[in-house]
């Protein structure tokens, strides 16, 4: 286990003392103390949210997370999907929009699917679906012809998916491209030419350890010298 520390409320906030502190990933409660169980930078979001920003590459399935999976097998009524975790997840063929027993979805082994976990805990086999609770696809399903799939750390994926993501904004200024980001660290990119796709993929992989300034200088250099 890691360091134990306690919080000191800054003097400015005296009126609204939050009653509960929300511990995000990397923090664990142990009675009155808060223990750090992952190494990384402590981040804080007003009013009461704390979490550890860590550099982990191994994915552990969590309920409700949207991931990119690779179909590895078709057995009976379900597909076996590799999501990068310790176990393969199962995806029923009826969990696609407009799929019925007669109308099977067109999914082959080796395809990429963007789907959500409905069951993901340590006691059961994880299960995926490609529809939301209303039965609509909502962007999920099979995709991926013509793009490139690569793997990054989970921290970078979370930074990309954050609502005001600076990395995403910087990337948008470069050239148009399509991107699908899975919470399991897998990212799919497609652009007009293969060279541009490769550039975006390499830029994303190198964003991991850079500060914002270094990243912006790098993007500017690439944009200036781009094809």
């Amino acid at each position: 286990m890691g360091d134990v520390f306690s919080f000191q409320m800054p003097e400015s906030i005296t009126d609204s003392k939050p009653e509960k502190v929300v511990c995000g990933p990397g923090l664990r409660r142990n009675g009155d103390e808060v223990l750090v169980c992952k190494s990384g930078i402590l981040r804080h979001k007003q009013p009461n949210l704390y979490w550890i920003d860590s550099q982990q590459r191994r994915y552990v399935p969590g309920k409700g997370e949207s991931v990119i999976g690779i179909i590895t097998a078709k057995s009976g009524d379900i597909f076996k999907v590799d999501v990068g975790g310790s176990e393969q997840a199962s995806l029923s063929y009826l969990a696609f929009e407009g799929a019925t027993k007669r109308n099977r979805p067109n999914v082959q082994v080796g395809d990429l699917v963007y789907s959500q976990f409905i069951i993901a805990n340590k006691d059961m086999e994880p299960e995926l679906v490609c529809i939301d609770s209303c039965g609509r696809a909502n962007g999920m399903g099979v995709f991926g012809a013509g793009g490139l799939l690569f793997k990054v750390s989970l921290g970078l994926v979370r930074r990309l998916l954050a609502p005001q993501s600076e990395i995403a904004k910087d990337l948008e200024k470069m050239f148009p491209f399509e991107i699908v980001v899975g919470m399991n660290g897998r990212v799919w990119v497609k652009s007009k030419t293969i060279q541009q796709t490769l550039i975006v993929a390499n830029l994303l992989e190198s964003c991991e350890n850079m500060t914002a300034q270094q990243r912006q200088t790098l993007f500017r250099r690439v944009a200036d010298g781009s094809i």
Partner: protein, 414 residues
């Protein structure tokens, strides 16, 4: 555990990119990844980094009785091991096809080419000869294991020193390293393997395939050569048909690459020799600060040391004096008393004190200081913990490692 399967879109993209002569990391068709060779503290220990592929070779020797049909020749034994840490597809103890193939190729490349003078390994003809054993361990698999294994093996053999032996009449004395300097093996030439991968039935060719390129390739051609342009072994796998001029072209490319790599190995050996002679730091531990958790580069950033001292003093001044624990009789119940340590738990008091001290520091600064104390010499700290931590400024020569840069996108950003 199973390896991540290759999706259809990745395969299509890779093949299309190869048709347009583009590689994933921005290299050209004939470019090698950056090769880094470093040696350990013992003689005969060598680490080779070929991009992200990492291999370690260790050479050792012992005296044994020779073979009956060759009484005055020493023996060389090669052994490659695929460690499970290299790839989730490798399992300990299982003899996979890849392992057998690599072992056979390394043996053919190094033993059949007679690069080592085995007769010089003889001590007493017919009775005692040296057996040189080369153990190659794969630490990380990112493609092109054969090349990296051959570079590691030959560099380790060149680096190795065996104990000196003195013969006086019938008596044979083996001197330890302290008594007499160990002597190097006599090596005639350095055979190095170069791998070529073929795609689309031999239409497209790539040198030094990385792991993803290896998965989509049709066939592999491996040429083992030395810098004198002598071919030591050729192996073609995958069952593709190659034309005569294709093979000739590959051998020409291989000769260029082999001379570059041989120069690299020689430079690394020289640097290591210099470092050992001047008493500078050498060995694997010294090359550690160069290692990064991720293979991508990060710039040097300096720790803001200007006000660390003041902070420490402030904290010390602000901290309260710990209360003196005076042993006094404790009356737990009427009629009973207790003096000294025992049932009464005095730990609770000390915990409150520590918490008070910690409260006075801001969280981030506290992390910085703790990290600073733990750092000690400041040699190695995980970069993701403290991105503002400085690179080490170890005084020892870093020239133990020699680096060879190919063309790549990452390099152009430095």
């Amino acid at each position: 555990m199973r390896d991540t399967p290759l999706s259809n879109c990745e395969r299509d993209f890779l093949l299309k990119a190869i048709q347009e002569k583009k590689r994933l990391d921005g290299r050209q068709t004939y470019d090698y990844r950056s090769i880094k060779i470093s040696f350990g503290t013992d003689y005969g220990c060598c680490f080779v980094d070929l991009g992200k592929t990492r291999i370690m070779a260790q050479v050792s020797c012992e005296l044994i009785t020779p073979k009956e049909n060759r009484p005055n020749e020493g023996l060389i034994f090669f052994n490659i091991e695929l460690s499970p840490m290299a790839s989730p597809a490798f399992e300990m103890g299982r003899q996979s096809e890849l392992l057998v193939k690599l072992n056979r190729q390394l043996e053919r490349c190094l033993r059949n080419s007679k690069c080592i003078d085995t007769e010089s390994l003889c001590v007493v003809s017919g009775e005692k000869v040296w057996q040189i054993r080369v153990d190659v361990h794969l630490l990380n698999h990112d493609g092109n294991l054969m090349d990296a294994a051959s570079i590691a093996a030959i560099a380790a053999l060149c680096h190795f020193r065996r104990p000196d032996v003195g013969i006086q009449g019938e008596e044979v004395t083996v001197y330890s390293t302290e008594e007499r300097d160990p002597i190097p093996l006599s090596i005639y030439h350095m055979p190095i393997c170069v791998s070529f991968s073929f795609f689309q039935q031999g239409t497209y060719l790539l040198v030094d395939p990385c792991e993803r390129e290896e998965r989509v390739m049709d066939g592999l051609l491996m040429i083992a050569m030395n810098k004198h342009r002598e071919i030591c072994s050729i192996q073609s796998s995958g069952g593709i048909m190659l034309l005569k001029d294709q093979v000739l072209r590959c051998s020409k490319i291989a000769s260029v690459k082999v001379s570059e790599i041989t120069e690299l190995i020689n430079k690394a050996l020289e640097n290591d020799k210099k470092a050992r002679k001047t008493g500078g730091k050498f060995g694997f531990a010294e090359s550690l600060p160069q290692e990064r958790i991720t293979a991508l580069k990060t710039d040097v950033s300096h720790v803001e040391m200007s006000d660390v001292k003041e902070k420490a003093n402030e904290i010390v001044q602000r901290a309260e004096v710990p209360p003196q624990t005076v042993p006094s009789p404790v009356l737990t119940a009427p009629g009973t008393g207790q003096v000294g340590e025992g049932l009464e738990n005095s730990w609770g008091l000390k915990e409150e004190e520590e918490e008070e001290e910690e409260d006075e520091t801001v969280e981030l600064k506290m992390e910085l200081e703790e990290g600073h104390e733990e750092k000690g010499r400041g040699n190695y700290l995980p970069k993701f913990c403290f991105p503002w931590v400085s690179e080490t400024d170890s005084p020892g020569p870093r020239s133990v490692c020699a680096v060879f840069y190919g063309h790549s996108l990452q390099d152009s950003t430095e």
